[in-house]
């Protein structure tokens, strides 16, 4: 599959498991989308740990335009207050619509686990067809001591009561994926 086909397949598969997907031409646009989506869902606060200083400035500006509060660290003290967790995803897997998120940072984990909505920014060039194609990269991450690596496929779900599928069991109720067109 070429890159275009990988993107189409990835999007299809992610949507099949109730994730939503949109394109962004630049990081600025991605941040703007994340902030707008937060406001539209009625959120007032966005958590964005793990971004560089320059990126954080851009996120702050996007939050400002939507009237949102921004928190970037010490998230445990903000539990229940941030609506959105905005993080990067390192890789995407087209076969299953999965994102791979290096979650060694505790704040980053809290953002992706305790938010109502998780928004992940994924470089469109980082999509592979299947997990086996990422073996080398994943092995490098696993070999680092004190690591926490997550494969995430759609929002949290359960079917434990009469097998009725219900989203948002413990983690985020929504997963939004922003495919970043520029090389990242």
């Amino acid at each position: 599959m070429n890159q275009r086909e990988l993107q189409i397949k990835f999007r299809q598969q992610a949507e099949a498991v109730a994730a939503t997907v949109s394109q962004a031409a630049s990081l600025e646009e991605a941040f703007a989308q994340a902030a707008r989506l937060t406001r539209e869902q009625g959120g007032a606060c966005l958590a964005a740990p793990g971004w560089s200083q320059a990126e954080t400035i851009a996120i702050r500006a996007a939050c400002g335009r939507e009237g949102l509060e921004l928190v970037t660290q010490g998230l445990k003290d903000w539990v229940g207050r941030f609506h959105t967790g905005l993080t990067r995803a390192q890789w995407g897997v087209a076969e299953s619509g999965t994102i791979v998120v290096d979650s060694a940072s505790e704040d980053l984990r809290l953002a992706t686990m305790l938010a109502e909505t998780h928004v992940a920014v994924l470089g469109a060039g980082n999509i592979r067809d299947e997990l086996f194609a990422l073996e080398q990269e994943l092995n490098r991450v696993l070999a680092q001591p004190q690591g926490y690596l997550a494969f995430i496929t759609g929002p949290s779900r359960t079917a434990d009561i009469e097998l009725m599928l219900t989203l948002g069991a413990h983690g985020p109720r929504r997963l939004h994926l922003l495919l970043l067109e520029e090389s990242s």
């Binding site: 997990l131 092995n139 004190q146 929002p155 359960t158 009469e162 948002g168 069991a169």
Partner: protein, 716 residues
């Protein structure tokens, strides 16, 4: 004592069969699963992948100690503390000590079958610790004081009404049973609070990677991520069999695990943890303990036969496809571990007492085996486990008799002939016995039983088989007890089908029972003895085919090489014979030109015998033949599900045999069929008996008879 426990088990089964909600839920669950699983594996070569996983797991099991040492070194270098518990008690103590030393009071858990295995919660609670399960289903059953009834869906036996009632008690607020989302919301709110205030999280692990010292969990709800992130101490309880050498092996298993569990391509969250991760609440680093549990696994991993059981990846598929589980649920079809694998593991982890009655409750329908992502031969291991129980408790009288009679063919056949006299008054001149005296066969009222033929096939043979001058093919016919002594007309129909085709058919009078009933009774030595007798009688070397009209016999003959693998004299002949064994439909398609038939639109439903569709891998041939013969073939959902016969199973567990049969016959009647066709005399017995008992006009035909009738030849 064993009789009392058996009676108690049958009472529980009866209770489950009377629970309408349970029956409906499980039927819906198993029906949905079939479709989801098929979609999940679309485009993949499942048997090949399952064989790869089986081989990879076997390799890992063979080096369990080495993998443990390697894992320990890597994980400790990354800041984890690694423990090895030799048994359940030791594992409980280690975990309680960790809690005491770290000053933990509140524990949250994500789902771990291993912690169920060692009955961890009651022990920790007795130490004054507060333990909260955070998987929704696990929380529900914890609140009810029950164990899981399924490895993946622990509360599948409960209705929304029961959950709403429970949550009303827990919250003190009326909960609406029709609003499942709001019930989930109750759990989300309560458990979020528990996780935020806990000081210890206990998880299981699906994989332990020796190459990096990482552990992995696979979940949908996301609770395992919170349990391993929020509290300052994390304890992972891991069975030693979860050790794999590297990521590649884990990814191989991961490719099959969610697909086999729920049909998902991958579960929502797969989380890999290496070492003591960042944790602000614990001076920057999490306190991570990884407790490996042996509890018999090291010894089991060295067992030439039973090591297979440790391949299990806990997907639950053996329950999802099991017709017995589908009727009675996990609380009556397992102890802690449920489904087919549970019947085996219960003996090894929880002892003979817990396993004794369970381990006999298997139809040998092979549905679990062909769906197992690790290629475990579950039905065979179940029989071997039953053999172990029997060896410890002594052979029941019926086994002693079976051995004596079966190994002596003339005696066995003499007794079968005598049955003809004994049953005459019961049959009242007909071909079916509708009312057996209850004391003779309790629980058999759900079906009529056929009478033994007045003249068995072996006595008719010299009249039936006309010599063929220059045969194009030579076939050794294996009758099997039912065709020889009960349904010789099925063999006559076969002979009519091949009339004038220059095919010579030989029927050796020295052939005996195929031996499957002995194998099913865990009488392996008897099974081997009759196999040797049949090998000598059938003389496969002189024939092109060994054909049986009984799918069970054919599939068991195919199994002779395995049965006699250690026998230097007979192993070679067994392989030779197995290569020539063929079923009726495949033989007809290969060798016989049937006239396109005048089935004249008679509506025909088909029942796929377990030993044909799964045992021999023949799925389409019989149906193609029916259509070509002019029948109006009518499919139905459970066509390949067992009819509930299972030989002596239907005598030992008549309540289940009847319930499984009833579901099948209901579906068959729903097709509007005039006839029900199958190609196994055992299935004919069960189906015909059940239909007669229901007063149904549907007639049962062996495939040979249906095809012969369509050829316009004599009604067999």
């Amino acid at each position: 004592m064993s009789r009392a426990s058996r009676r108690h088990y049958h009472q529980r089964l009866q209770g489950a069969l009377g629970n309408r909600f349970l029956g409906q839920t499980l039927a819906r669950f198993q029906g949905n699963y079939r479709g989801s699983r098929q979609a999940g594996f679309a485009g993949l070569d499942f048997p090949a992948l399952a064989a790869e996983v089986g081989a990879a797991k076997d390799a890992a099991l063979g080096q369990m100690k080495e993998l443990f040492q390697q894992f320990k070194a890597k994980a400790e270098a990354a800041g984890a503390q690694v423990h090895l518990a030799h048994d359940a008690g030791q594992a409980r103590e280690i975990i309680a000590d960790i809690a005491a030393q770290a000053g933990c009071q509140r524990i949250v858990k994500s789902k771990s079958m291993t912690s169920e295995e060692i009955h961890l919660n009651p022990y920790l609670e007795a130490q004054g610790l507060q333990v909260t399960e955070t998987d929704l289903g696990e929380w529900i059953i914890q609140l009810r004081g029950e164990g899981p009834s399924h490895m993946v869906a622990p509360a599948i036996h409960l209705s929304r009404g029961e959950v709403a009632e429970l949550f009303t008690q827990v919250t003190g607020q009326k909960q609406n049973p029709e609003d499942i989302a709001s019930l989930v919301e109750v759990a989300r709110g309560r458990l979020r609070q528990a996780m935020l205030t806990a000081d210890m999280g206990i998880s299981g692990a699906n994989f332990a990677l020796a190459s990096t010292g990482s552990i992995a969990t696979v979940t949908n709800e996301g609770n395992a991520r919170l349990v391993t992130t929020l509290p300052r101490v994390h304890v992972a309880l891991v069975g030693l069999e979860k050790l794999v050498p590297d990521l590649h092996t884990a990814l191989k298993i991961l490719q099959l695990l969610p697909r086999s569990a729920t049909g998902q391509l991958i579960s929502t969250y797969v989380t890999w943890i290496t070492g003591a991760v960042e944790c602000a609440a614990n001076q920057g680093r999490k306190e991570l303990h990884i407790v490996f549990l042996d509890n018999g696994r090291l010894a089991l991993s060295q067992d030439p036969v039973f090591h297979q059981a440790l391949r299990c990846v806990r997907c639950g598929s053996c329950a999802n496809v099991c017709p017995i589980y589908g009727k009675v649920g996990g609380h009556n079809y397992g102890h802690v571990y449920i489904g087919a694998i549970g019947l085996i593991l219960t003996y090894f982890y929880h002892g003979r007492e817990a396993a004794r009655d369970l381990v006999n409750n298997c139809l040998n329908c092979q549905a679990c085996k062909v769906n197992c992502p690790a290629g475990i031969d579950l039905p065979a291991l179940i029989k071997k486990t039953a053999g172990l129980v029997m060896a410890e408790e002594g052979r029941p009288l019926k086994n002693q008799l079976l051995r004596r009679v079966m190994t002596n063919r003339p005696l066995f056949h003499f007794l079968l002939r005598r049955a003809d006299l004994a049953q005459k008054p019961l049959a009242r001149g007909g071909r079916l016995i509708r009312h057996l005296p209850h004391f003779f066969a309790p629980g058999q009222e759900f079906r009529s039983l056929p009478v033994v033929a007045a003249e068995p096939l072996r006595d008719r043979w010299s009249r039936l088989a006309l010599p063929v001058a220059e045969p194009r093919r030579k076939v050794a016919l294996f009758g099997g007890c039912l065709i020889d002594f009960v349904y010789p007309e099925q063999a006559e129909a076969f002979l009519q089908l091949i009339e004038g085709q220059s095919i010579q058919v030989d029927y050796s009078r020295d052939q005996s029972c195929c031996g499957l009933p002995a194998a099913m009774a865990s009488e392996e030595e008897t099974a081997r003895e009759v196999a040797r007798q049949n090998l000598a009688a059938l003389d496969a070397e002189q024939h092109d085919y060994v054909l049986s009209l009984c799918a069970s016999c054919a599939s068991h003959l195919k199994n002779y090489p395995k049965l006699l693998a250690e026998d230097p004299v007979w192993a070679g002949r067994a392989r030779h014979l197995a290569d020539k064994v063929i079923d009726l439909a495949s033989f007809l398609q290969k060798e016989v030109d049937l006239e396109p038939g005048a089935g004249q639109g008679v509506k025909a439903a088909y029942h796929a015998p377990c030993h044909l569709c799964r045992g021999l891998g023949v799925h389409e041939a019989p149906k193609e033949l029916l259509r070509e013969a002019g029948y109006d073939y009518r499919p139905y959902e459970d066509e390949e599900v067992c009819c509930g016969f299972g030989g002596s199973y239907s005598l030992d567990f008549p309540e289940l045999s009847a319930a499984i049969l009833e579901r099948k016959l209901g579906q068959v009647e729903g097709t509007g069929a005039d006839i029900l066709v199958t190609d196994c005399p055992g299935c004919v017995l069960q189906l015909e008996g059940g239909l007669d008992h229901r007063g149904s006009p549907i007639r049962v035909r062996h495939l040979a008879q249906a095809l012969a009738e369509a050829q316009g030849k004599k009604d067999a």
